[in-house]
């Protein structure tokens, strides 16, 4: 690994030098299933737990949930203030309750509380406006409109920024734009009195010219769920009451009775903070002239900073889950954690008409092995002995807290299919006065939404397989010369140290160019033996045994071999690469056991079975057809990889592909293998041995050490009235009801869509149960059963109120990814936009008052949907200017993407690096975020942008030299190598930047590919392509988009 092309001599932060001793925990201590689950906790501290990146090794334990969770959460903030005094609310309750409609707490007069329409105020910039205020001020805004007082809720309203609608349509100055709770980025500390606003201590000049918010402000600030410490201003939040704003937001937990309540939806917001500021969601682009919309006032994601406790059920009602990206600790008291299963709506429509009217999807996002929060109670393992877990004899659903015991406990009714079963004698228990079994609280399966059953022989077709890892390395000329091979060998060599050390863990290794080279690792004291399989049209394994051997037996040999491979092939002049054949051959070696096949590929597979052609170039040459047929290039070229993959899946072989490419590799075809076998594709383009080695190693390490299971089968069952329509994600499906997962890990999410086949009764509950049968790393066969029981409703407003933005957007994202290879990009973009419009239209039509017709009204829960939709249409996957491989990779990645990572993928977080460390009192590692608009980017700033996958460090043209020196160790922008490796220098700023990045890595469970963007280079363009709120050749600006959406809705209404 000393090779020059290997990893840099000095490891980048986050990179564990080989010598460091990050080890798996002693298996003995992990004997308990639970520990098992925690093992891979990415956020866990260094030390024995495998953190996703080595970065944390050796650092003191970082309490993940502590400071970072609440960067802004200065104690002064009232975490849950109801907003502006509206309503009586039980704002203090984190979870909302939905009392029956009759209970509505709102004064009748109010009717449904509309989300607020915030009024856009010309010329105003809000206190909260971000630093770019300068640009804002340049806008000409009609003065005066702001006056809040006219609003029913004066305080709230005050600051709403103008919304820029198309001039022709809206009378100027009409509806104010409402604020929303979800303030983008940083908000000022709530405690700050309004007065202080203008004086905010931010580094960035505050530009808002608007008058400080009225007194109401204080109230407002409280209502802010998140206090934004950031430099930026508090947002004008209370803007609310535009004239159109009718109802102050109700407090959380309040249920709106009348179906028509518009504003109510806001409450639905499940967020942990009740605060949902009264304002709801809506941005109203009123008839007012388009230019009036204040970009600072429109809805943006607001990071939740404080850690909350989330009870999955409250008062025997399902509780609305907090936003996926927020910090929360789940208390499972019947329903499973939303990390494991999240539904697009938290109340199930009684009829299919209802859901179709709403235009919302009905889907469940299942991440069965999702990492729990370290403070959460681990999932308990239940062993029923030889008889196995209690199951419904009709639908085979597993025992869960919602099965109802009757007849003094002698029988039980299945909550999934309604069938009544006899209670097995040795499971019998008397019922208490409350009708529950007396032992319900002692038995995890009767009180927890997530449990794990020990599987009996009945659930095994063979002995549980050992963990098997087979590494397959490209050593063709290109891979050698770019340093990929050396980087890979080094990464494997180090990652192996972290493999679970059990006696059963087995490894194998092969390399390939135009032939396949296996190595026999178990050979006395001799060197390894190299076995070449030259027939790449029809492959086979060269040995019966000794290709895959126990790790304990071959560590030394393997290490030596990995060291010598780069030099052994140093002069390799074979540029052909037999990826398909090599994969197949490795599969044959894995066939008897199954296992994970990790393939490292550098070039387009050009030889042997599964060889591919440079379709991209052909497509370009053939321009006439390329536009129409462009999406065809995103489909696999033929069935060969799919066929192979199905065969792999059958034998429980999962393929993870690490693509270290410099050019087109036909990702569309290659990725099929991973997608079908429950694997993952990693894409390093263009691969740089200098800057990507660390990520490669960390990706690999996380890949092999994260909590995962093998030879898994999953099925989702649901209550009578619904049926599973389809599964989406990375798996192999042979029969309609089950999916086969040769491997499943904590990062993989599967989307399950449902359709009605019957009606539900109002007041009943519909349950969803996911059962995952799998083998752990330690060779135990388990069934993880997660159950979620949600109330049924026949009211549209309830649907909107209980809508889950994160889940819905994830669903939308996955739908888009599915559409990309099938339809043209513009079609997909239109579909997504229409998807958004239809939902909003439905809300507007059925849940908002007629009088507000001129306003754009957004349901509180979904107020960010337009922004995300816009970002989605500008994302790599849907942009027209991207490379084919990038798009294919995106499609592949999205298919298994988890809910918390979905929104950031299209709407990344942007941080100002230059202002890091300027606030000494802020102990949070994660700085406040900025809106994704180039208005917020200054030339003398350094910015960090991350989307959970990549991180870009943007350096403006006129950054102070000292700052460059501090961050990069060089005083000039040009002096920074484009093959950039972030290093920690001895100064506060650098330290904080590194801390911030490490914290982000931990949150994302991903090492993030760090790239440098300079304003002057093409890399700067890359950075700006993430500024999704800007108007760009590929799409509208955020404001324009809102106007567009509004117009479409109006057209539909007409």
């Amino acid at each position: 690994m000393a090779s020059s092309s290997g990893p840099p001599s000095r490891p980048p932060p986050g990179y564990i030098p080989p010598s460091s001793t990050v080890r798996q925990p002693n298996p003995a201590t992990l004997a308990g299933p639970m520990q098992n689950l925690q093992i891979g906790q990415p956020m866990a501290q260094p030390g024995p737990n495998p953190a996703p990146y080595g970065a944390f090794a050796g650092q003191g334990p970082i309490s993940r949930f502590g400071p970072p969770g609440r960067p802004l959460g200065s104690p002064a903030i009232a975490p849950i203030g109801p907003i502006v005094g509206n309503g009586p609310s039980s704002s203090a309750i984190p979870g909302q309750r939905f009392p029956p409609p009759a209970n509505s707490q709102y004064p009748a007069g109010r009717g449904p509380a509309p989300p607020f329409q915030s009024q856009v105020q010309p010329g105003r910039s809000f206190p909260g406006s971000p630093p770019l205020g300068a640009s804002l001020s340049s806008q000409t805004l009609p003065p005066a409109q702001n006056s809040v007082p006219s609003q029913p809720i004066p305080r709230a309203v005050a600051a709403s920024p103008p919304f820029a609608g198309p001039p022709s349509q809206y009378p100027p100055g009409v509806p104010p734009f409402q604020g929303y709770p979800g303030r983008p980025l940083q908000q000022p500390p709530p405690a700050i009195p309004p007065a202080s606003y203008s004086a905010t201590p931010q580094p960035a000049p505050q530009s808002f010219s608007g008058p400080p918010p009225p007194p109401s402000f204080t109230g407002l600030s409280r209502s802010q769920p998140f206090a934004a410490p950031g430099p930026s201003q508090m947002f004008s939040r209370p803007p609310i009451s535009s004239s159109s704003y009718q109802v102050p937001p109700s407090m959380p937990g309040v249920m709106q009775a009348p179906p028509r309540m518009y504003g109510m939806a806001a409450h639905g917001q499940s967020t942990g903070f009740p605060t949902a500021v009264g304002q709801s969601p809506i941005a109203a682009a009123q008839g007012s002239s388009p230019s009036k919309i204040d970009p600072n006032q429109i809805p943006r994601p607001v990071p939740t900073l404080s850690e909350t406790i989330f009870e999955t059920r409250l008062g025997n009602q399902a509780n609305l889950p907090p936003p996926a990206s927020s910090e929360y600790v789940v208390r499972d008291n019947g329903n499973c954690s939303p990390r494991l299963m999240r539904c697009t709506v938290n109340q199930i429509p009684c009829t299919s008409d209802l859901i179709s009217t709403s235009s919302m999807p009905l889907a469940l996002l299942v991440q069965p092995l999702a990492l729990p929060h370290p403070s959460e109670e681990p999932i308990q393992v239940v062993d029923f002995g030889e008889s196995g877990p209690i199951r419904c004899s009709r639908c085979k659903g597993y025992i869960n807290p919602f099965m109802k015991f009757i007849d003094q406990g002698k029988r039980f009714i299945c909550n999934l299919c309604g069938f009544t079963d006899e209670t097995p004698r040795d499971y019998f228990c008397n019922l208490g006065p409350d009708g529950r079994r007396r032992d319900a609280d002692e038995r995890p399966e009767l009180c927890r939404g997530a449990v794990e059953f020990v599987a009996t022989k009945e659930y095994m077709v063979r002995d549980p397989m050992p963990p098997v890892f087979f590494f397959l390395i490209d050593v063709s000329m290109n891979a050698i010369q770019t340093g990929a091979t050396a980087a890979v060998c080094s990464a494997i060599g180090q990652a192996i140290a972290d493999l679970p050390e059990g006696p059963r863990t087995m490894v194998g290794l092969a390399t390939f160019d135009s032939t396949i080279h296996f190595y026999s690792l178990r050979r006395g004291s001799q060197q390894p033996l190299m076995l070449i399989v030259p027939d790449i049209q029809d492959v086979y394994t060269p040995l019966h045994s000794d290709i895959i051997v126990q790790l304990t037996e071959c560590r030394q040999h393997l290490g030596q071999l990995l060291e010598s491979i780069p030099s052994m092939f140093e002069t390799n002049r074979i540029s052909e690469s037999a990826f398909g054949a090599a994969t197949k051959a490795a599969f044959l070696a894995l066939k008897p056991t199954g296992g994970k096949l990790l393939v490292f590929q550098s070039v387009l597979p050009s030889a042997g079975v599964g060889s591919l052609s440079a379709r991209e170039a052909e497509g370009r040459a053939n321009v006439s057809s390329s536009d129409k047929e462009a999406h065809k290039l995103l489909q696999p070229i033929d069935k060969s990889y799919k066929t192979m993959a199905l065969e792999f899946a059958e034998q429980q072989v999962c393929v993870d592909a690490f693509i270290t490419a410099q050019s087109y590799v036909d990702m569309a075809s290659i990725s099929v293998i991973s997608a079908t076998t429950g694997g993952q594709v990693y894409y390093y383009y263009p691969f740089s041995a200098v800057s990507d080695s660390a990520k490669l190693y960390n990706d690999l390490r996380w890949n092999v050490t994260r909590p995962q299971g093998f030879e898994a089968v999953m099925r989702v069952r649901c209550g009578q009235g619904l049926q599973v329509q389809d599964y989406h994600g990375h798996f192999c499906k042979r029969i309609p009801t089950d999916i086969d997962l040769p491997a499943i890990d904590c990062d993989k999410t599967i989307m399950v869509t449902f359709k009605h086949d019957d009606k539900f009764q109002e007041g009943t509950e519909c349950a969803f149960q996911c059962a995952l049968l799998y083998t752990t790393m330690y060779g135990e066969r388990r069934i993880r059963v997660t159950t979620l029981s949600l109330p049924c409703t026949s009211m549209l407003s309830n649907l909107f109120r209980s809508a889950d933005l994160d889940a819905q957007f994830t669903c939308m994202l996955k739908q888009a990814a599915m559409g990309v290879p099938i339809n043209s990009l513009s079609q997909v973009r239109d579909q997504m936009t229409n998807f958004c419009i239809n939902i909003l239209h439905s809300y507007r039509k059925f849940c908002a008052t007629v009088s507000s017709s001129g306003q754009l009204i957004l349901p509180e829960a979904l107020k960010l949907l337009p922004l995300y939709t816009l970002a989605l249409t500008k994302s790599i996957g849907l942009r027209s200017d991207g490379r084919l491989d990038e798009r294919s990779y995106w499609v592949n990645r999205v298919a298994s993407l988890s809910v918390p990572l979905a929104a950031p993928l299209v709407y990344p977080r942007l941080f100002a690096v230059h202002s890091l460390g300027t606030k000494d009192d802020d102990e949070s590692a994660i700085p406040p975020t900025l809106p994704l608009s180039s208005e917020h980017i200054t030339d003398d700033g350094v910015y960090l942008l991350e989307n959970g996958e990549d991180a870009l460090i943007y350096v403006g043209n006129s950054v102070r030299n000292e700052m460059l020196e501090q961050i990069f160790g060089t005083p000039s922008v040009d002096g920074i190598s484009s093959q950039f490796v972030l290093q920690q220098h001895d100064n506060e700023l650098s330290k904080r930047l590194n801390d911030a990045i490490n914290e982000i890595r931990r949150q994302r469970c991903s090492f993030l590919r760090l790239r440098l963007c300079r304003k002057s280079d093409p890399s700067g363009m890359l950075f700006f392509s993430y500024m999704v709120e800007d108007k760009s050749p590929s799409g509208l600006s955020y404001v324009e988009f809102l106007v567009h959406v509004h117009r479409q809705i109006q057209t539909k209404m007409a």
Partner: protein, 777 residues
Amino acid sequence: MAEMASAGEAEGIDGVRMTWNNWPRSKVEASKSVVPIAASISPIRSHPDLTVLPYPPLRCKLPCSAVLNPFCHVDFAAKIWICPFCHSRNHFPHHYAAVSETNVPGELYPQYTTIEYALPASHDPAAAAAAASPVFLFVLDTCLIEDELEFVKSALRRAIGLLPDNALVGLISFGTQVHVHELGFSDLSKIYVFRGSKELGRDQILDQLGLVPGQRAAAVVGGAAGYPKGMPSNPKSTSVTRFLLPASDCEYTLNALLDELERDQWPVEAGSRALRCTGVALSVAAGLLGACLPGTGARIIALVGGPCTVGPGLIVSKDLSEPVRSHKDLDKDAAPHFHKAVKFYDGIAKQLVSQGHVLDLFASALDQVGVAEMKVIVERTGGLVVLAESFGHPVFKDSFKRIFEDGENSLGLSFNGTLDINCSKDIKIQGIIGSCASLEKKGAASADTVVGQGNTTSWKLCGLDKSTCLTVFFDVAPSEKSSPPGMGNLQLFLQFLTTYQSPDGQIRLRVTTVTRKWVESASNTEELVAGFDQETAAVVMARYASLKMESEEEFDATRWLDRSLIRLCSRFGDYRKDDPASFTLNPSFSILPQFMFNLRRSQFFQVFNNSPDETAYFRILLNRENITNSVVMIQPSLISYSFNSPPVPSLLDVASIAADRILLLDAYFSVVVFHGMTIAQWRNMGYQNQPEHQAFAQLLQAPQEDAKIIIRERFPVPRLVVCDQHGSQARFLLAKLNPSATHNSANDVAPGSDVIFTDDVSLQVFFEHLQRLAVQS
């Protein structure tokens, strides 16, 4: 004309023996002569009188291109020689200007009817170097039990030590799969693996090994050691020297490799044979050698311990419930794999012939390994074959050693031979039985009817050695317009031209020119009879019949042989019609019936006592050995040792057995020392160790010594059987003896003698019948 003399001298310097030394002039006469006109030739037999001329020969003008020889008529004055074959007149070239009656070049000396020319090496230095370093590619079976593998490994180690330093060595091992060891790779042991179940074309093999056909890096010798790194386009990487290294360079590597070599690791299912892909291994070996420069002398030395059970060339399925095919199966066409396998091996044979490479087959197993199928390769390429029971058995061990031995004991293994035959007008060549392959060069002298490798006047002998012997079949076809019987045409001429690479890499051309007499008229049988060679005739009949048994379905060999013999006796015997008692035979024919009797009983005709593998093995050797040895195969020699007399040849008859005698039977494939009962008892009592019984010790020793001499000179090494009368091993002797006394005639048996439990007829009965039938009208 080479008259019949004692057997040893019969061949003279020419090494040519013919069934008929005086040839019938007409086709009709020829067919009435019953025994075909054939010549057994030993193309490169060593002879003390052989002269080597250091210059190229003079050749007659095309298309004749016969070489100047002592039978040419030379006009010294005109400096012209007349070719005896085509009667063309050729001028001597300038450098022969000095030729005169008193100054004749060597090739015109009358005693040098056989002479050898040393040809200049090829102009291409690479080719010359290639030729100079023979290639030995070992193909080793690893589906063996541990003991056998150790035996074969130690044999290999010894062989590697014996190889000349410049010889190039390669190693392929096979079991379920084929492993081609890249000896030139220094970083670690590198092996190319081919699946055993898939047939691969030559190009595919080359491609998969990363080789370019017909190439060999210029620096052949010692080239692979410096495996240069970093050359932009590394010619070595495509060169076959990755796999073939000079013995001096790779001895250590090879030994280390052999130390680590394990039995085939693939599991063998219960009730199954181990999967052994001999077929693919051989085709890979052939493919690998295809990358050698043309003209390279190369041998594939296959060490096989069982039948091919997978892939092309399958001999028997892996299912143990299916036995390996027997003669009975072959007869009934119940051997499902046989023809397919033969076809496959025939393909390899063709490839090897085109490359000029040899396959040697060393089969050591208790069961059959498929020699019957693979025979075609060995025969076409002129390879060696040894069949033994075990790699630990002396038959294998000593034979294997022989092929690497140098000096006097050397087999004189040569490469890349070509045989051309010129013959007088009216003579056509039907073909050759023996280790050669037709080059399909059809000429005026090739006959329409084909025997063996025919349709040509030119044959390829990829591998040949001092003992290689071929049988050429001729046909007499006087053309209509050929001149009427006259003085000019009394003699016929044959010229055999053999070019080959000697073991030291030189290119040689051996020219043997012989002449024989035409027998003009049909009436003149005496002359015919006088020219008859019974030994050669017996051997030719055996070879011819063997060929027919293999190639013709429903061929009843015994019946054919009997009828031929009867016709021959009718034609050439003296008798009165229908009077058996009057029958006598000329001495030239006198022992032929006995040969025929023994031939009928031999392993060549009575195949059902043997496996097809054994039969194939016997036949290969029958075809490649000289007449003397072949006669021993047909009719073993028996020597009797006793106190009363010096060792004497005795009758091959059960009557030769006596209690106080030791018999030494040389049946070619086995040498049996048989102790009479009394001798055995004495020996068991240890008399030979007592000083007063030294004579006895000597008597015991004598046959052993003689057996050793026989064994030492013979390749393959025969099996030595030492047995006692009435012992179980005695069957090796009894099977060969004339059953003059059987259990049916037990009454008249002399004491101390023996009987044979058989229903076979005895020689006497055979003769009686023969006489009776021969005189029938």
